[in-house]
């Protein structure tokens, strides 16, 4: 034995005396310049639909008159409302500009304009429906209903077969639709009765100072064995033909997007439809590939069209019915028409597969009224800024938004305190930042004059960030003791730094003991539990949606714990942007039910709540807007991205960009934040981020404070100095001076010039360097 050890020892000693040197072989390479140059074809980035394009100076010349057959039914100081009772077409004359808006087309259409009878009917009908047709001859397997939805219009069109005859023959379906008009204040009530299929409803069309108001009371809907699926309201209001009218359509996708009218010619264009507030997970199964980013959705119930920039425009604001509405966006070329039209469809019933197999549709109709306000914009308001201001005024009127006074312009600093990793004996807590370290970071930042902070604590709860949601209101001992947390909260209070605690009442993991897998996890209308898989199965491989009622009960349980620990501010994820139908104990619940439960939850909590990506209906409940989208989805049909959401909220709510940690183009991001008035956000940890590699937070690949510190101070100084002067101010106009140069004017007449280009820009003698910005003038 001893000999063996000795032999081994001498062997090792021998080997230690041998050394190896490895020399790298040098290869010579031509020098390469590592600065982005514009591509050989295509535009610079700032000319793509990531940004807003300059306006062309084309003026739209129009000469419009109200044709024969129309009678004036209402008027006020700004508009006149006309109605053709035989055609069921409304026209609004804008007295300021003389422009005339029409609820449907009332001219004869040709095959050059529309190739499919269905869309000719859509264009001519102010109202149309889709329904599920009952057929008693069908067997029980399909429930007696025809699988595909059927359409019913006010018009019936035939497309001519002959080559020379281009005119589409249309007639009113007088025999199939009975219309009854009743005069009401400022307008008319129309009762539409599709007598063949025995479906009918009332429409109140009224005129007010803002524009046209359309209201379909839910209780007026009459059905038979045929069931109503969709109502289309004035789909062609604001439509244009190819590029005959300069202007654009507006879509509230992400931050906001435009489709400028251009002649698409022979290019292949698809129509597309987007659901307001995202798909309904209670009905649709979504396969999200792990390599794609989550698609943005329409977070505000608005849409619009501009006919001549700074001339005329319309914005449709869905005041009721948006939970079950989808927006149809059609550029010319799509669906075989030459028209550009954007319109919502209001879903009364959705079809789905019961148990993922049997085709069926919702038994009960959606209970919401359909209320749309079409506000017309004139002259300098007839653009996307005007639309945003109109929507803003609407929200202020409804007390959703209130003007900020004495507002701060803080930086959002999220601290990831602890996360769960899998250990040999099951999940264990990995401390990323202790309370002491958090305090240290905040003090360090304040000593560098980054004193206007908003702190969000993540993973403060027992068990760490992932797998424990909805969180128990107990502090994770490894992060800090109860008294340390208490001191932390009190210290920050003295420093006037609000600290928010992160929580999520919508998402539940099976690993938490706060929920029961049997009773608390929501089932979709398909009767299947709503579970979602995480792509890399790091620690927890799936999570669930909770019943809104279960969420509410959890929140009620937490109240005393929040009080006890002095937690005043909460950052609540998911609740602001999750909305779904669900099934519970024999009852189908609608999207509106989940929203009302969530609103009740927020009322119950009764403390300051900030939400992540809140949809418009939650703005009222959210103190701050976290993770505001900075772009639109940039679909190939979009021509521009615009800061619509930002303009709506500027001066009314603080809104924060997504974490700057993960931005690949920090210069561009900084300029966008200045341009859009967004506040910066960072997430930091004490320990290096590679500790998160095998956790569910693996997407936080760079968080260490020492790495981020410089960037935080840098961004804060640039943005804060600038935004300090603009706090409480609203954004009044936004102009693209030339490609890549933006001029933003605020309510205190401060002007900011942002130069996205790679060359100097001269603005009235002020030189703005490339990729830089300057604030000029003001009070």
């Amino acid at each position: 034995m001893r000999k063996f050890i000795m032999g081994l020892f001498t062997l090792i000693v021998c080997i230690f005396t041998v050394s190896f040197f490895i020399t790298a072989n040098n290869k010579s390479q031509e020098s390469v310049d590592f600065i982005t140059k514009p591509p050989l074809v295509g535009e610079q980035l700032y000319l793509s639909n990531r940004f807003t394009l300059p306006e062309s100076n084309v003026t739209y010349v129009y000469d419009l008159v109200i044709p024969d057959g129309y009678e004036k039914i209402a008027e006020n100081s700004k508009y006149e409302l006309y109605l053709n009772k035989t055609k069921v077409v409304f026209k609004v004359k804008d007295l300021t500009t003389g422009y005339i808006w029409s609820s449907a087309l009332d001219q004869t259409l040709t095959r050059d304009e529309i190739e499919v009878a269905k869309y000719a009917n859509t264009a001519l009908s102010s109202f149309s429906i889709e329904y599920f047709e009952y057929n008693s001859e069908l067997n029980d397997h399909t429930g007696g209903y025809v699988e595909t939805k059927k359409d019913a219009f006010l018009y019936f069109s035939t497309i001519p077969n002959s080559r020379n005859d281009r005119t589409i023959k249309s007639r009113r379906l007088d025999e199939d639709v009975v219309t009854t008009y009743t005069n009401i204040e400022n307008g008319v009530k129309v009762n539409l009765d599709f007598i063949n299929i025995k479906i009918g409803f009332d429409v109140d069309v009224t005129l007010n100072e803002d524009g046209l108001h359309v209201h379909i009371p839910n209780e007026s809907i009459v059905e038979s064995e045929n069931k109503l699926a969709t109502i289309n309201v004035m789909p062609f209001l604001g439509s244009t033909i190819t590029d005959q009218v300069p202007g654009y359509m507006f879509i509230p996708d992400g931050s906001g997007a435009l489709i400028r009218y251009k002649n698409n010619g022979e290019a292949k264009i698809n129509a597309f439809t987007a659901r307001f507030y995202g798909v309904n997970h209670g009905i649709t199964n979504v396969l999200v590939e792990p390599y794609k980013t989550e698609s943005l959705f329409l977070t505000a119930p608005v849409f619009g069209a501009i006919h001549g920039v700074d001339q005329n425009g319309v914005i449709g604001i869905i005041e009721s019915g948006s939970y079950n509405a989808e927006l149809n966006i059609n550029s010319n070329g799509a669906l075989g028409t030459k028209f550009n039209w954007i319109t919502p469809s209001y879903l009364i019933r959705e079809n789905y597969n019961l148990y993922k197999v049997n085709k069926t549709f919702e038994a009960e109709k959606n209970p919401e009224d359909i209320t749309v306000s079409y506000q017309f914009l004139q002259n300098k308001d007839a653009n996307y800024v005007g639309m945003a201001k109109a929507y803003q005024a609407n929200l202020v009127k409804d007390n959703v938004l209130s003007k900020q006074i004495n507002n701060q312009t803080p930086l959002r600093l999220e601290i990831l305190a602890s996360e769960t990793t899998s250990g040999l004996f099951g999940p264990k807590v990995e401390t990323m930042t202790t309370i002491a370290k958090s305090k240290e970071f905040i003090n360090d930042l304040t000593s560098h004059d980054v004193d206007d902070l908003l702190v969000v604590m993540r993973g403060w709860n027992k068990g760490g960030l992932s797998g424990t949601s909805p969180y128990s209101i107990n502090y994770e001992g490894k992060v800090g003791s109860n008294s340390e947390f208490k001191d932390f909260i009190n210290d920050l209070k003295l420093q006037n730094i609000p600290v928010y605690f992160y929580n999520d009442y919508v998402i539940g993991y099976s690993s938490t003991d706060r929920i029961s897998l049997r009773t608390d996890i929501a089932k979709s209308l398909q009767r299947v539990q709503m579970e979602f898989l995480t792509p890399k199965e790091p620690v927890y491989d799936k999570y669930y949606y909770l019943y809104p009622n279960a969420s509410l009960n959890l929140a009620k349980d937490d109240l005393s714990a929040y009080d006890k620990r002095g937690i005043e501010n909460l950052a609540i994820d998911s609740i602001g942007h999750t909305i779904f139908s669900y099934y519970n104990k024999g009852i189908d619940y609608k999207r509106v039910d989940s929203v009302s439960k969530y609103k009740e939850l927020l009322n119950t909590l009764n403390r300051n709540v900030s939400m992540y990506k809140p949809n418009a209906y939650m703005w009222q409940y959210s103190e701050n807007y976290f993770d505001m989208p900075m772009f639109s989805s940039q679909y190939t049909y979009y021509s521009d991205s615009v800061p619509f959401l930002q303009i709506v909220l500027k001066g009314y709510m603080n809104y924060y960009a997504p974490f700057s940690n993960f931005s690949a183009t920090s210069k561009e991001q900084l300029l966008l934040m200045i341009d859009y008035g967004m506040l910066p956000s960072f997430i930091v940890t004490d320990k290096p981020s590679y500790n998160l590699k095998y956790t569910n937070s693996y997407e936080f690949y760079t968080t260490q404070y020492s790495d981020m510190k410089k960037l935080i101070i840098d961004q804060y100084q640039k943005i804060n100095i600038h935004l300090q002067k603009l706090k409480n101010e609203t954004l009044e106009s936004r102009e693209i001076l030339e490609a890549g140069v933006v001029k933003v004017t605020y309510s205190n007449r401060n002007v900011v010039i942002i130069n996205y280009t790679n060359s100097d820009f001269d603005y009235n003698g002020f030189i703005i360097s490339p990729k830089d910005f300057k604030m000029i003038g003001g009070n």
Binding site: F34, V286, L287, Q634, F662, Y701
Partner: protein, 691 residues
Amino acid sequence: MKKNFILLFLTLITFLITLTTINVKAENGVPYKTFTEDSSHWLIQTQDAYIPVAVIDVLKDEKLKNPEDIFILEEKIYIADTGNKRILVVEDNLNLVTSLGSGILNQPTGVFVTKENEETFIFVADYGNKLVYKFDASGNMIQEFGRPQNSPLFGESESFQPNKITVDARGNIYIVDLANLNGIIQLSKQGEFLGYFGQSLVKPSLRTILQFIFYSDEQKQKVYKEPSTNIANLALDHEGLINTVANDINGNIIQRLNISGNNLLPDGTNTGTVFLTRDYNQLVNLVDIFVGPIGNIYVIDNIGFISEYDMEGNLLFVFGGKDDTGMVKGLLNTPTGIASDDSFNLYAIDKVDSKIHVYAPTEFANLVHEAINYYQDGKYIESKEPWEKVLQMNSMFDLAHIGLGNAYYKLEMYDDAIKHFEIANNKLGYSQSYWELRNIWFNNNLLYILLLFLIWILDRICIKGYYFKLIISYIIKPFTYLTKFKLFKEIKYITYLMKNPADVFYGIKRQKKVSIFTATLLYFVLYIEHLFSKIYTGFVFNFTEVERLSLLSEASQILVPLLIFVIANYLVGSINEGEGRLKDVYISTIYSLMPLIIFWPFVTILSQFLTVNETFIFTSTTNILWAWSFINLFVMIKEVHNYSVKETLKIIIITIFTMLMIVAACFIFYILFNQVIDFIFEVLTEVRSNA
């Protein structure tokens, strides 16, 4: 039956799941996520490297129709506009678009441009005409190359339908013909056939091996008649070497071929999109390859993923993906080509959508490129600054850790170097830095070591090792107290194995020297030692990811096989006149593994102090321990069952077979059980849906 069983097994491995993501934590206004790879080929999300800028379908007034290839040279873009039977040349940001080859070309699927004496020549592979054309810059056709004539080497029946083409500096023409499986067709400047080039196989997968073993000859013929390895495309790099992408049913491979057709890139340079697509049961085929300005390699596949590799074949970025709506900028439907310009802008063409997607590099990508460029030149110290910036943006970027490790190594800051190598899990770099550190330690402590050694020698020679024995006796002393316990005695009994194994097993069998409890304890000790070695084996030899260790699967690696062995051996023995009882086999088996139980922890500890250069010490000692244990097992079977040597050998073979059968039986039971569960579940669902 057996074949079905294997197929069932294969289908079980590739089950399908649906996925969705939690909230996106970053937003760059890009439809895809960008990933890079760590040392264990685990994809790590990273900052976006490329941002989609534009989607173009009309170039000036020329509308694309089903384009199949793209090439860029000196700021000019050449597109094989296959559907329109022409080559489009795009210059000066669309201000000048010319076409060439109209009227001559029939189905141009490949285009390549080369410079000869300052003159530009355009080579076109025409699939329809079965010809390769050479055009000059003004579009005059000056030469055409057809099927090699009078060349017995080429083969009578081989096809000649050029798909893709490349020309090297000597004027040799390399043609990819997807139907010709002999390799790349190499023609001389004059069009003479020089030979097939670079036919090399993708490594066989488990599946093909299984197929080979279990398929009947008929089935084999069916499988292997289909194309084995298919070189899909090729590109010329800055050193004049041919880079290719190839696919077969086992996967994809990227190769850099030297003049004799051997691959210079490491094996396994094909992992990029495996993770991203594994859930879709989709076959990934690499479609095109392009060599970028710093020798970086761009590869695009049929799904739409674009991967960028550095010159040495390390994956830098993979991004993109599929979109069949045609409305998402940056996601592709049917990609056919990729190219980059001198400032890393990328151009990907989509055949069915007839579009070019243009991507611009981000600040982050530029930083990585700058660092890589220094690094490739061996300027490690210059690369330090950009690598540090890269790490500041993404601290999980392993290549940056390796780069920094190398920079620190060059600067002789081995402590820092070793830290970065460890994070990046780079065994070689770690080992080299550790070697240096260990060397420094030895230099500092050499005197003490020599002194100790001297004392030991003196002690041994002069007083016959008195002091050494004294020290040893002090160490042993506390253990003498333990000898009172039966358990300790039983455990100590294991050491007799070194002297006479046969006696030990006799003692276990006849004299009942060891209780089942002690044996069970030793099984547990072995399991703990196994875990210990998994976790604490020196970094250089340790391939375990501790974070992903599971107690159960580790037990199944060591304890389960042992227990199956015990059962199988007992059963086999009992029907073959073996004398051993289950208890004897159980106890003796663990006692046979004495060498592992005693020495394994020491080897594990020793491995902490070894570098790559001393690998053989680690592997040979481990092997010796295992070999010793197996010899003991052999003796054990012989003694316990009282067999002759010949019988023992026979029994061992039958035991192994029995073990396999036990595993198979369990597996089949598991599958059947699952089927029953599924069946019940389906019935219940059906009942509920009709209730």
